[in-house]
Symmetry: C2
Subunit: 341 residues, 2 copies
């Protein structure tokens, strides 16, 4: 296939007048090589354009630096941004990143998942914000080194290989913001949970309502897209024509909510306050600009990689922590009237 043979370690050795093993030592940063020899070898490497053969290295038992990211739909903001964070951190550390995309709607089975591993024992990072990811995480063989970005901290059985953002607290703060504006209660357009339990963001919303001594209306569940948000929002407005404030599971749902409100003749924020989640690049430019919670998905991706890296090599450097969730108040939330709540 290739016309010119790639140079091997033995070609370099010949060019530098040393044995192939010495070349191997130079490549792997072994101490025991005389400075002059090292330089000669490095010159030869440069001149020949030598690069170590990955396959040979792996076959010979050297731990190879690669990982696979398992994620659903890469066009969702959270997934895409986390992926970017992982890729950047991984590349900086010299890891090759493979990717395997799950169908968001179909539950993966163990056999299929096993087949997705590039090789047995390939390290993985699972983006498990949704049910497909969470299920994949459960099904992964036990001998695979893995870390995961999860929606919720596992309450009873904390797993040190999981990382997450404090969605719950963030949702509480966003809800408090709305209550503080004078709304009698806050409705919830919820994201599907990744587990059988209530989504974290929904929990946080409940926390704030409980704390304020307000009865929580039943949340309405949407999907992940503006389309599903729009449908769910219609249901919500139908069921609760007197709603004055809605917390949405993400910015895309909020976008659907804004449209449904417009269609129902409810002005935002005058008659209805809407708060989103994620702070997508679009949110500041919507009409009205969306009040939302900024989440550091990129940082979370970096963190998940750092964790995996230390799992594989305990001497790997630590990671700077991700940014705290931050409420960004824009135009879509306003004072709640003193009227019906």
């Amino acid at each position: 296939m290739r016309s010119v043979q790639e140079p091997t370690i033995r070609d370099v050795a010949r060019a530098a007048g040393v044995s192939y093993q010495t070349v191997s030592r130079v490549i792997n940063g072994n101490e025991r090589v005389a400075e002059a020899t090292r330089r000669r070898v490095q010159t030869a490497i440069g001149e020949l354009g030598y690069r170590p053969n990955r396959a040979a290295r792996e076959l010979a038992g050297k731990a190879v630096r690669s990982l696979t990211v398992l994620t659903s739909d890469t066009s969702l903001y959270g997934n895409a941004t986390a992926l970017r964070g992982i890729e950047e951190a991984a590349r900086t550390a010299g890891f090759a990143v493979s990717i395997s995309v799950l169908d968001r709607h179909a539950a993966p089975d163990a056999e299929e998942l096993r087949a997705r591993l590039v090789r047995p024992g390939e390290p993985m990072i699972v983006i498990a914000f949704d049910a497909a990811g969470a299920r994949a995480l459960e099904l992964l063989p036990a001998d695979v080194p893995v870390t995961a970005l999860v929606e919720r901290p596992p309450g009873d059985d904390p797993d040190p290989r999981h990382v997450w953002l404090d969605d719950r607290l963030a949702a509480t703060r966003a809800t408090r913001h709305l209550l503080g504006l004078g709304h009698r209660t806050v409705h919830c357009l919820a994201l599907p949970s990744s587990t059988a339990r209530t989504a974290q963001r929904t929990e946080g919303w409940l926390d704030a309502l409980r704390e304020a001594g307000v009865d929580a209306p039943a949340p309405v569940e949407g999907g992940w897209t503006p389309r599903s948000g729009h449908l769910a929002a219609r249901t919500l407005l139908d069921r609760h024509p007197d709603a004055t404030a809605v917390l949405c599971g993400n910015d895309d749902l909020a976008l659907g909510m804004l449209r449904a409100a417009r269609e129902a003749g409810r002005r935002v924020p005058d008659e209805l306050s809407v708060v989103g989640f994620d702070d997508t690049p679009a949110s500041a430019y919507l009409a009205p600009a969306l009040t939302t919670v900024r989440l550091d998905f990129e940082g979370l991706g970096r963190t998940s990689f750092g964790l995996l890296h230390r799992l594989l090599d305990p001497s790997a450097p630590g990671q700077e922590p991700c940014a705290e969730p931050e409420l960004i108040v824009r135009e879509s939330s306003g004072p709640g009237g003193t009227g019906s709540g």
Copy 2:
């Protein structure tokens, strides 16, 4: 690291009572194996849970089925959607997909690029809608099998390894739509071009104006995000307070345009028509819902993979073609007054 050794081809051979070579034949679908033997081997494979070792296979000279996607920012709609298409098609064909993310703002250099290749000769797909991607494509060593998703067909020197969507015609149609609504002229909020030449979408816009015998106003160049669209839109409205129709390079720019229009007190579509490009999932839910052009990025991704596959193996199956660009008329475009143009 792993407690249990993975079974090798020799383990399978022993279990089936044949030589390792026969096992290799079965794995690779060689004709010359007796039916009974084949079955025995396959049973052994199943029982032992044997999977071929990728590295050994590659080292022994077997073409290994993997590819690397080179792309900038994975959170942009076009990139993310194309990536999804590539990944899906590749996985179906048994390829492992690696990913390498370029900085959209920094030009890659040849040395760095070479280092990104998982191995010399690794097949690649470059998503080259922007300048970073286009530059990377140029710098790739000649011996790498590569296909690319490009912004524009290379006019003079058509490269059969490139695929693209007919942005130009699509832009012409969108512009005709606006002219057909009675607008005297159409302004352009342009995407940065991937090359030194004018962006395809901008060309298409020019085509339509020329065809209608209308003088083309100078296009205003934005970036890729709502933020950059907003900035550029302000400039555009400043320079051309009498504009009644604007074609935007993508939906995110259009979003920025919508906001700038609102801030300038220009009602859309009554006083100003805005048309986007891409049909992102959000566009139908914006206020007003965006008239835009639907582009089949996912199909383009699949096509680019099919092309690469056939480059590597001429007997690989053909691909179904991508969908034609389609103008989706929604609320953001309306009749142009007979007043100032």
